[in-house]
């Protein structure tokens, strides 16, 4: 297998290329644009036999993507942040059409105020849209997850679209070694898309996603989306085993890092989890028994895997790189909900909010999280949401406020 230095964006483009997609509707947005630029170049050169179309907005882009998918094409597209939100109503239509396409979202914090760097309020806003969600930690995982996403989405027990998420800048513009899977082996893992139930012919016209007034039939179809999403837990397991057998890399719903004898566990997602792992190593070197649980698949929610990993721990900290104003961390709520009926639930469940808009989380902040979580675990009382901010950041902020005339 050939390994090369590659950004998360280029790895995403390679995922689409190796999945041999048929149709790519595109619209640029920082920090995603490199993905569609690479695909445009490959389509132009004939490296990828797909139709590439530049659209007039993300709303049109997602509409075209869903329509092409139900016409029987394997579809790939990508967006970020405001672009995802601009496409928002179409997301629900696509899952309702049961169009199993793959959308890459490159996380970028939402306006206002405007920024370019990452947090997860964009992708988590789409958590109830009927898309499955895989959140990647490394550039390699971005590529591999796209291949797995098509296999899971197109499975007859699922037939739902998938979002593969990666962090803007932290992963999108970061290069690290990525091993390119062999195309023949990819075809064994992911056969060509030949859905017997999809496709459009002029001689047998159909209407999809039609109006259904009165709740009876609406509820029937929405329940079906929920149950299909639950099926994806098992389908993911099968895909992960097959992927491991062919390529030697294993991806489960959640990933445990140094959990074996851990008293306290930090829960994270996406590329920030790499830094969390480094912090675990540092804390372990100081004699603290800590570990990390990374949530990789966020939809369907891997409740049982989370319970198994957190059962019997002293303290658990959920570090949300998102903020639901008036509530707190989004993933904290979901972790708490799935632990409610657990007899051996952790002594304390703590909530930390950090990394908003690409805000750096320093080694010292991780250390503070571990210390506060251990104390909360001993005391048996939860904590938070704690909004991570340092005195140094406040000094910088005060300086900017002065320049902007805000303190006048």
């Amino acid at each position: 297998m050939d390994s090369q230095m590659m950004t998360g964006n280029l790895a995403a483009a390679w995922g689409a290329r190796l999945a041999d997609v048929d149709y790519i509707p595109a619209f640029p947005i920082t920090p995603q644009t490199e993905i569609v630029e690479a695909l445009a170049k490959w389509c132009e050169r004939g490296d990828l036999a797909a139709r590439f179309v530049s659209m007039d907005s993300e709303h049109s882009m997602m509409t075209a993507a869903g329509a092409a998918e139900v016409a029987g094409a394997r579809v790939f597209t990508a967006t970020s942040s405001q672009g995802l939100l601009h496409a928002f109503e179409v997301l629900y239509s696509i899952s309702g059409w049961r169009a199993p396409l793959v959308l890459v979202n490159v996380s970028r914090a939402l306006a206002a105020p405007i920024t370019l760097e990452s947090d997860h309020n964009d992708v988590l806003a789409a958590r109830d849209a009927g898309f499955l969600q895989i959140h990647a930690e490394t550039c390699q995982e971005v590529l591999d997850s796209i291949l797995m996403a098509y296999r899971i989405a197109e499975d007859e027990r699922v037939m739902l679209p998938v979002i593969v998420n990666l962090d803007g800048f932290t992963l999108s513009f970061t290069r690290e070694p990525v091993s390119l899977p062999d195309p023949d082996m990819v075809r064994r893992f992911l056969p060509p898309f030949r859905p017997s139930h999809l496709g459009f012919t002029a001689s047998s016209p159909q209407a999809l996603g039609v109006a259904v007034i009165g709740g009876t039939s609406y509820a029937y179809f929405r329940h079906q989306v929920h149950l299909a999403a639950r099926n994806a837990l098992e389908v993911h397991r099968e895909a992960a085993e097959s992927f491991h057998a062919l390529f030697g890399r294993r991806y489960d719903l959640v990933e445990g890092y140094r959990l074996e004898d851990a008293d306290d566990v930090l829960v994270m997602t996406n590329a920030g989890a790499s830094k969390g792992k480094a912090a675990v190593d540092a804390a372990r070197a100081q004699g603290q028994r800590v570990g990390l649980l990374r949530l990789r698949v966020v939809r369907p929610w891997p409740a049982e895997a989370i319970r198994q990993a957190l059962r019997g721990r002293r303290g658990v900290a959920v570090l949300d790189q998102n903020l639901a104003p008036g509530q707190g961390g989004i993933l904290y709520q979901e972790v708490a909900a799935c632990l409610y009926h657990e007899v051996l639930r952790p002594q304390a469940l703590c909530s930390f909010i950090g990394g908003l808009g690409g805000q750096n989380i320093s080694a010292g902040e991780f250390q503070a999280i571990f210390e506060q979580t251990a104390e909360a675990g001993v005391a048996g009382t939860g904590l938070g949401p704690v909004l991570l901010y340092s005195a140094e950041e406040h000094r910088e902020m005060t300086q900017l406020q002065m320049l902007a005339g805000g303190n006048a």
Binding site: F169, T174, G272, A363, Q401, G406
Partner: protein
């Protein structure tokens, strides 16, 4: 793990230099990672890039707080607090500055710790390529030398990275030749294991929040860009040759930053505290009345007040 932080200005190739080092390390058999950070600013704004390499999987991401080596592509960045060149530099850190000045002069001017060394890379680029921007391969070579990498993976890395940018093969070859000259002219410095300060738990801080009435990012100081002097971004300054000027106002029209004013005689007056040195006026002037002059003294064009 070896951690290298590059500081440059948009357009100077700090990101490409960081990639050349990353690829050279990767081709040498290391696990490598490189990443740039920049905002929505344009050419001339401070940017940074980070390259890490080592034998073990790299778990750190983003900003390098405690670098083994810092490469500064433009000496004017030493004067700009927003560039944060001094972050995490200790007596053990190797600090390379692109400047024709001696290391001791840089040390006196900047008052920075670290083992400082200099080379006039921009002068070398001007001499060999006639372009001040063409320094990415040269900086990559200097970094590779100081980080202890060999010449051959460096040569390949330059070919790969400049090739990816669409640089023509003959120009890539010249870059390799000049880069290896730079590689040779930099003295190797043994790595002194920088004692990373022991991590202490941060004490979280609750800022003083303003009233909800002032709860959005707002600029109420009108014309406050005057306070952010950007004259230090220049390597070249536009200078008027008065007798060639025909008073057509084109420079005034084209200046993207509005730093050219016209006087009573229809002659341009440049605000050097804010001119970023993009040279668009020089390019557009139909009578060649505006010429680009190299900034002197190590390229520090303007020290922000």
């Amino acid at each position: 793990m070896y951690a290298v932080r590059f500081h440059g200005r948009g357009g100077q190739g700090a990101k490409t230099a960081s990639r050349i080092l990353g690829t050279a390390a990767f081709l040498s058999g290391y696990v490598a990672q490189d990443s740039p950070i920049y905002g929505a600013e344009r050419r001339g704004a401070p940017v940074a890039a980070f390259t890490r390499f080592g034998r073990e999987p790299i778990r750190e991401r983003g900003v390098i707080a405690y670098p083994d080596l810092v490469v500064v592509a433009d000496a004017s960045l030493l004067e700009d607090p927003a560039a944060r060149v001094s972050d995490g530099i200790t007596d053990q850190t190797i600090l390379f500055v692109n400047s024709p000045l001696h290391a001791e002069q840089i040390r006196t001017q900047s008052k920075l710790p670290g083992r400082i060394m200099t080379l006039g890379v921009t002068e070398i680029a001007l001499q060999h390529f006639g372009q001040r921007e063409a320094i990415s391969a040269l900086l990559g070579a200097v970094a590779a030398r100081l980080a202890g990498l060999q010449q051959e993976p460096l040569r390949q890395a330059i070919a790969r990275e400049l090739g990816d940018l669409g640089v023509a093969p003959p120009i890539i070859e010249r870059n390799q030749t000049v880069a290896l000259m730079c590689y040779e002219s930099v003295q190797v410095m043994a790595r002194e294991s920088a004692a990373e300060p022991a991590t202490r738990a941060t004490i979280f801080h609750t800022p003083v929040y303003e009233s909800p009435c002032r709860g959005t990012a707002r600029i109420s100081a009108s014309g406050n860009s005057v306070l952010r002097e950007t004259g230090g971004w220049r390597t070249f300054r536009p200078v008027l040759v008065a007798d060639k000027c025909n008073g057509c106002w084109l420079c005034f029209v084209y200046c993207p930053d509005g730093v050219i004013a016209m006087n009573q005689d229809d002659r341009p007056v440049v605000d050097y505290a804010h001119c970023k040195g993009c040279q668009i006026c020089v390019h557009e002037c139909p009578t060649h009345a505006l010429v680009a002059e190299r900034e002197q003294e190590g390229g520090v064009a303007w020290t922000a007040k």
